[in-house]
Amino acid sequence: MASGKVTFRQERCKGCSLCVSVCPAKIIFLDESTTNIKGYHPATVTEMDRCIGCANCARICPDSIITVERN
């Protein structure tokens, strides 16, 4: 399976969760341990090795804060 990598521009995240809802690997979550300057818990991924690089998250992100790379 292809492996991917997602990067979030977290300071611009509004915590809307749309990316969370469309990730087939279910690895995106809102990081409740931190709050960005806008006051939201930003989206993040810790188990990056499970990312398949499908770009679903980036495609649905209304704020264009997600970059996706793939092998």
Binding site: A55, A58, R59
Partner: protein, 250 residues
């Protein structure tokens, strides 16, 4: 590793002011990506409406003109007639296009104005705080229809794509939505086709995008996508309502 998705060069670096999860932002991306892929950003003039997307003039990486409420099609007509070789688009909400600006959009379509309209149908007036729109569903609550839209009092929601598809000057009209990654890809294809037909000089093109307004619908962004699928799509069927190229191919 190769980049498979990143922010479009068709957008400026200005932060979007939309509410969290509002799909206005998704549609902005699709328009921006289309203009970037068609390599026409330097040759495009966009017309922003009055509505939540009033600040669209700060977001698109091309020249922009901000119109009065509902008048974007008239402004776009003025621009396109002066600059016929340029790409011109309007981006309008349902209050803008289907209420106060109905005459302007109908007559732009009638004249076959060669610009593309991106019509955001979110069944509500977002910017002014959730008042009833002409597209509000029967029974749907709004701040000016606190008990829900009453058919006796206000009639049923207006279907602009179907209506405009009866006009000869319209070259392409499709209704799409952006509720899933697959739907987003379809919506992008529709928007691209509309711009391509504009470039080919075929006539008026419009893509209606069923869009969410989580804030005024009183739902989370994810619930809003679901509500749209369950309630708006039945009232506003997706599909192509007019395609002059399909007719020409016959």
């Amino acid at each position: 590793m190769a980049i498979v998705y990143q922010k479009s060069k068709g957008l400026t670096d200005v932060e979007l002011h939309y509410c969290p999860g509002c799909t206005h932002g998704i549609v902005h991306k699709l328009v921006a990506e289309t203009l970037e892929e068609l390599d026409v950003l330097g040759n495009t003039i966009g017309v922003a409406p009055v509505g939540c997307s009033v600040f669209a003039y700060k977001y698109f990486n091309c020249d922009m003109h901000e119109a009065a409420h509902g008048r974007a099609p008239a402004v776009a007509t003025g621009i396109k007639r002066v600059l016929p070789e340029h790409i011109v688009f309007t981006y309008q909400g349902d209050g803008d296009l289907a209420a106060i600006g109905t005459a302007e959009i109908v007559h732009a379509a009638m004249r076959g104005e060669k610009f593309t309209t991106i019509f955001i149908n979110n069944a509500i007036y977002g910017m002014t705080g959730g008042q009833m729109a002409p597209t509000t569903l029967v029974g749907q609550r709004a701040t000016t229809a606190p008990l829900g839209r009453d058919r006796e009092h206000y009639g049923s929601p207006i279907r602009m794509s179907e209506m405009l598809a009866t006009i000869d000057g319209a070259a392409y009209i499709e209704r799409v939505t952006v509720t899933t990654p697959a739907n987003i890809i379809k919506a992008k294809r529709a928007i691209k086709k509309a711009f391509q037909l504009q470039i080919a000089g075929k006539g008026f093109t419009m893509i209606e995008v069923l869009s969410t307004c989580p804030t005024n619908w009183g739902l989370t962004p994810v619930e809003a996508l679901e509500w749209l699928n369950n309630n708006m799509v039945p009232a506003f069927p997706l599909g192509v309502f007019r395609d002059i190229t399909a007719e020409e191919a016959k």
